[in-house]
Amino acid sequence: MKKDIRFVQGNEAVVEAAMYADLDFFAGYPITPSTEIAELLAYRLPKKGGKFIQMEDELSSMCTIIGASLTGKKVMTATSGPGFSLKQEAIGFAVMTETPCVIVNVQRGGPSTGLPTSGSQGDVMQARWGTHGEHAIIALTASNNQDVFAITVDAFNLSETFRTPVILLLDEVVAHTRERLIMPKPGELNVVKRLRTSVPKGTDYHPYLPREDGRLPMSDFGGVHRYNVTGLAHDMWGFPSNNPKIVYGLMRHLVDKIQGHTKEVTRIKEFFIDDAEYLLISYGSSARTALHVVENRRARGERLGLLELQTLWPFPVDVVQERCASANCVMVVEMNMGQIFYEVKKAVADPQKVFLANQIDGSFITPTDILNILRIIQGKGA
């Protein structure tokens, strides 16, 4: 079979991947630079009997997909900064009710309306901490179309596996850059199906009682099991409880099911790491610039390496620590004032060797930007 090659934007890669992962339902509200995702799905979803709805705002879009997910659908929404802020309350509801869903946030320049059409990576910490209350979350990213595809499929898979919202944290540059996408064949990538309970009708089903392997099989709303779902702290039946023991169990479960599976959730890519003196750590579009620099300097014999993170949350502390151990110097390349930078500092044994190479003026980070900072780190001045 001939390869199915496309020339598409990152946003289109998201759409193709979501369709590949059996997306059934999308609700959204337009916002630059994520709008193409909605536009394409408005066209694509009905073709396979799926549902697309443009809601009145981002708050309702988020709520709508949660409702749809509970009926057994695979669901997604897509937005950018301001809309991501608006979705936070409902994202917390999805966390608390353990409802699978994928939220795409195509980052643009902030804060506030900021620079709507510029790339940025300013929402990394918000993806982790944007909703109120203690919780854990999964956030993934990618730097090129092929990876965007794979990571999007992964986002759905992890969302189903851990019954949790997964945030796909892209950025304007990745979303809007057109490049090749080789469409994976059906079956080529793993697609995790919704895990449904095997408890038969008439037998008690506990929506919030984890199995031995920690997973919680679901029962579709409208199916044979009638149960309650609430954003309040709740017991294994889904009914409100403020019994400290039950609350404690719930909180630990919600956090541990993610933090405790960091290894399984971690996706990274490594370039010339083994003997790297200067280890660059980057993600999303800025990893492209970082890789450009690494390849370029390797060609001149300089020992640069790149660790590209695709899982941002839970932060892969162990992997980062290990990979940084032998480098003389670590440089985090990102388009903000150091959000992953501080996580790396926290992770490594000798934080004073970690530096930040960044760009915050709305323009895309260039190889020169990185090299200039590298030179300074090397003590060579400006």
């Binding site: 496309r6 598409v8 289109e12 759409v15 193709e16 059934d24 339902f25 609700a27 536009e39 394409l40 408005a42 066209y43 694509r44 009905p46 073709k47 396979k48 009997g49 549902k51 709805i53 809601m55 009145e56 705002d57 708050l59 309702s60 879009s61 988020m62 709520c63 709508t64 997909i65 949660i66 409702g67 749809a68 997910s69 509970l70 009926t71 057994g72 659908k73 669901v75 309350e89 409902a90 509801f93 709303f221 409208g222 199916g223 044979v224 009638r226 149960y227 309650n228 779902v229 609430t230 954003g231 309040l232 009914f239 409100p240």
Partner: protein, 273 residues
Amino acid sequence: MAVKDYIRERFFPHIWCPGCGHGTIMGSMIRAIENLGIKKSDIVVISGIGCSSRICGYLDFHTLHTIHGRALAFATGVKLSRPELTVIVPMGDGDAFAIGGNHLIHSARRNIDVTAIIMNNNIYGMTGGQYSPSTRYGDLATTAPYGNIDQPFDFVKLALGAGASFVARTTTYHATSMIKILEKAITHKGFSVVDVLSQCPTYFGRKNKFASPVDMLKYYKSQTTPIGSEAKEKNPDLIERGIFAQEERPEYCVEYDKIIEKASQRKVTNGKV
């Protein structure tokens, strides 16, 4: 089946205060459903946050207790995914028309087949008696210590203005007709809004000189009148109850099916529209 077959008995007596109208509305809902003979597993009840919203815990349907004001958005997701289910959304007046007002008018506009029941006690019960968008001018509330200066919405007018195809009003005093109205609202193919006046003796009543729940029901009895009654002509201050609109209009999920049909006939052309 008996009323008890529709509830989760282990949580009774329920949490609502003595004489709270919300319980009466729950009873009427159950009776309407019983009369219609809808299977329990075909019903999804979705609520937001408020005293009213605690209804979810008590009903033996698929129940989804969501966040404040957004119940209809969740309902849109459930209904559009599974149009064959009966989706009922009981809401507080604050839940439905303060923080949730936008979702209500947009649900009405789309005419999605969901039944919104407003458990309208003219106050925020759950948070302890602040004024709501249906608190009348001059009424007292904890955040209106000098008397409320906000004009209230007329929920019926607003729902009509937004394009709702079924709009009705009733009260907890008029339990028999409430049941009838709810039956019609639930069977109506399209978005239905039923504004049910419901007493909150604890906060609204106490602040506004109603000595007891009984007094509040007396108020509903004496101060409301069927739509277009003579009494209304004589006393225009009377609140009308009954069905204000019941129209057949294109329903959203049905319309969506047409989209699916159209779409499946067209060929995908390189992902371009």
